[in-house]
């Protein structure tokens, strides 16, 4: 069980991220979560959106450098120690979290090399993982 993330190559200059967000807004694509990292010169901005296929097609049409990849999505309970719990389970199983970011509400997206192994480990530890559809329902009305 995984969800689709859209990553976009964006130059680290004023207005460049806005172009992508404009395209999403015009197409009525809702952003459920994102993270932006940079190297000083350029950044990779990662998005969780309600319609990933549409978003990717839109970006390709605009000639942007974008690609889709799969990440895990965990739903955390709204209590202290929940984030620690997820990371501890991964650590105990020797799973490296390449990067991780939170979505709107108490959901986090985790990028790992072996999705199936991480999914099994987290599920065993009773951490709720959600798929694309479930996330859509759960986050309806929570747009960034």
């Amino acid at each position: 069980m995984s969800i689709t993330q859209i990553s976009v190559f964006v130059e680290s200059r004023p207005g460049h991220l806005v172009r992508t967000l404009d395209a999403f807004a015009q197409a009525g694509i809702q952003v459920r979560g994102f993270c932006a990292g940079d190297t000083g010169e350029y950044g990779i901005v990662r998005f969780i959106v309600d319609k990933p296929d549409e978003a990717l097609a839109l970006l390709a049409e605009r000639g942007a450098a974008a690609r889709a990849s799969e990440v895990l999505c965990a739903r955390l309970d709204d209590t202290p120690g929940e984030l620690r719990h997820v990371m501890a389970v991964c650590a105990d199983h020797g799973i490296n979290v390449v990067y991780c970011y939170s979505l709107a509400s108490t959901y986090i997206a985790l990028s790992v090399k072996d999705i199936a192994a991480a999914e099994a480990a987290l599920a065993d530890a009773d951490i709720a993982l959600v798929g694309q559809e479930e996330l859509s329902c759960a986050l309806a009305g929570v747009t960034l």
Binding site: Q5, G37, G63, A65, R67
Partner: protein, 448 residues
């Protein structure tokens, strides 16, 4: 449907037109005889009519009567762009302005424009030279030729226009810009030949692809390029993506405009010089002395029958070598290797000589980059710094910072191996480097 030319060894050259075979395919001896007769007359004409040359020749102690062989051309003074600037606008003209039927001016890439004027006879020579290179590329009276150069003062637009009409081709004078309209016109009018700068042709190609235009089934068969040097990888990419055959020609406003030499389909990296109209020399740019036969040096041109503005030994600053063996296309006119660098566009970075064409070649060989690039040089920190901006192709983008920085390092290493200078490589979004409608400006030297 457009059918691009097969590789050179599969072309039946006897089936292709040659505009003026009695000149283009004649013996070397006859060409040299034509050149000598014209040179003697041209020096006479110039000395008698242009005070600037009379002063220069008097100062060197050389008289028109001293010109007896082609080698005697070396006794004549060189002409540099500065001479044409100092005498702005009409000081170098050899005829009263009533005899001038058209004027043009250089694009002023490096400084003030240079003004040139053509007599009716000059226009005849010019369109004949263009007709030759158009036929080298296979253009005939049946072709529909769409102009994507700007008309106006730039020599490229009108020069090509007249030459195509001379062989009976149909000119579609669309002019520069409005890319989507160009594509629509190709579709509506069944255009077979596109005249453009290579960078603008690439832009038309990209816009067409984005609009979903199918270049493979388009009527377009060829591109006639000019206005800027066309690197081989860019030509190859345009040929494969637009399904056309592209040739380019060489020329300078100061000696005529486009048409000094043109590419035939047998040797795609060389161009036949219109030797009956232009005497060429290849010299060491530092000393002005001739280099050995077939060696690389600066091209020096003397137009042999120019009436409006005669020019003796024009220093082009373009680096090339000239080959005089007969060509597989049937022509015997000498071939100059395509100009890839200029003696004056050399950049000196921390004491090392760097040519933009070297950067262009490295980038052209990396298939995950588009052919567009920009070089920025500054020395804000007191040390020269060269930044090369390159565009990644969308499919080359990786979601991993590690992979992206490895990619940047790889591009840096490849550039360093060729340039012997370590540049800063800056990745730019696809389409992020400005596309030129005219000459692409690849270098921004902020040290000046």
């Amino acid at each position: 449907m457009g059918t691009p030319m097969p590789p050179a060894d599969e072309i039946d050259f006897s089936a292709l037109p040659i505009y003026l075979p009695e000149v283009e395919c004649t013996s070397r001896e006859r060409i040299r005889a034509i050149q000598l007769a014209k040179l003697i007359e041209q020096v006479d004409y110039t000395y008698a009519r242009v005070p600037w040359y009379r002063d220069q020749m008097d100062a060197l102690g050389v008289a028109p009567a001293d010109i007896k062989t082609l080698d005697d051309v070396r006794r004549l003074p060189f002409t540099d762009k500065s001479a044409l600037r100092e005498t702005f606008p009409f000081g170098m003209f050899a005829v009263p302005l009533d005899e001038i039927v058209e004027m043009h001016a250089s694009s002023g890439t490096t400084g003030k424009p240079i003004v040139v004027g053509y007599t009716a006879a000059d226009m005849e020579v010019w369109s004949e030279c263009i007709a030759r290179l158009a036929q080298m590329a296979g253009v005939t009276a049946a072709d529909r030729v769409q102009m994507a150069f700007g008309y106006g003062m730039f020599t490229g637009g009108f020069g090509l226009h007249y030459g195509i009409q001379r062989i009976g081709g149909m000119m579609i004078p669309a002019g520069a810009g409005n890319t989507e309209r160009h594509i629509q016109m190709i579709e509506d009018y069944g255009t077979t030949t596109l005249i453009a700068t290579p960078s603008y042709a690439m832009h038309i190609c990209e816009v067409g692809e984005r609009l979903g235009y199918d270049w493979a089934s388009s009527t377009l068969e060829r591109g006639l390029f000019g206005g800027e040097p066309c690197p081989p990888h860019l030509k190859a990419e345009i040929e494969s993506r637009m399904h056309i055959t592209c040739t380019d020609n060489y020329g300078l406003t100061e000696v005529m405009g486009p048409g000094v030499s043109g590419e035939c389909l047998a040797h795609r990296d060389q161009q036949h010089i219109a030797e009956d109209h232009f005497l060429w020399e290849v010299v060491d740019p530092a000393t002005g002395e001739p280099v050995g036969e077939g060696e690389m040096g600066e091209l020096v041109l003397t137009p042999l029958d120019k009436r409006g503005i005669p020019v003796l030994r024009y220093r082009t600053h373009d680096l090339t070598r000239v080959i005089t063996e007969p060509c597989a296309c049937g022509r015997t006119l000498a071939r100059m290797e395509k100009v890839r660098s200029r003696s004056d566009d050399m950049l000196i970075i921390r004491g090392t000589n760097v040519f933009p064409s070297q950067v262009e070649d490295v980038i052209g060989r990396i298939d995950t980059l588009t052919p567009h690039y920009r070089i920025i040089v500054d020395n804000d920190s007191g040390l020269d710094r060269m930044t090369v901006e390159v565009e990644i192709k969308p499919e080359a983008f990786s979601d991993s910072f590690d992979e992206m920085s490895a990619f940047t390092r790889d591009v840096t290493d490849r550039l360093r191996n060729v340039l012997l200078v370590t540049p800063v490589v800056r990745l730019v979004e696809p389409g992020g480097i400005e596309r030129a409608v005219g000459k692409a400006k690849h270098v921004d030297d902020r040290r000046k």
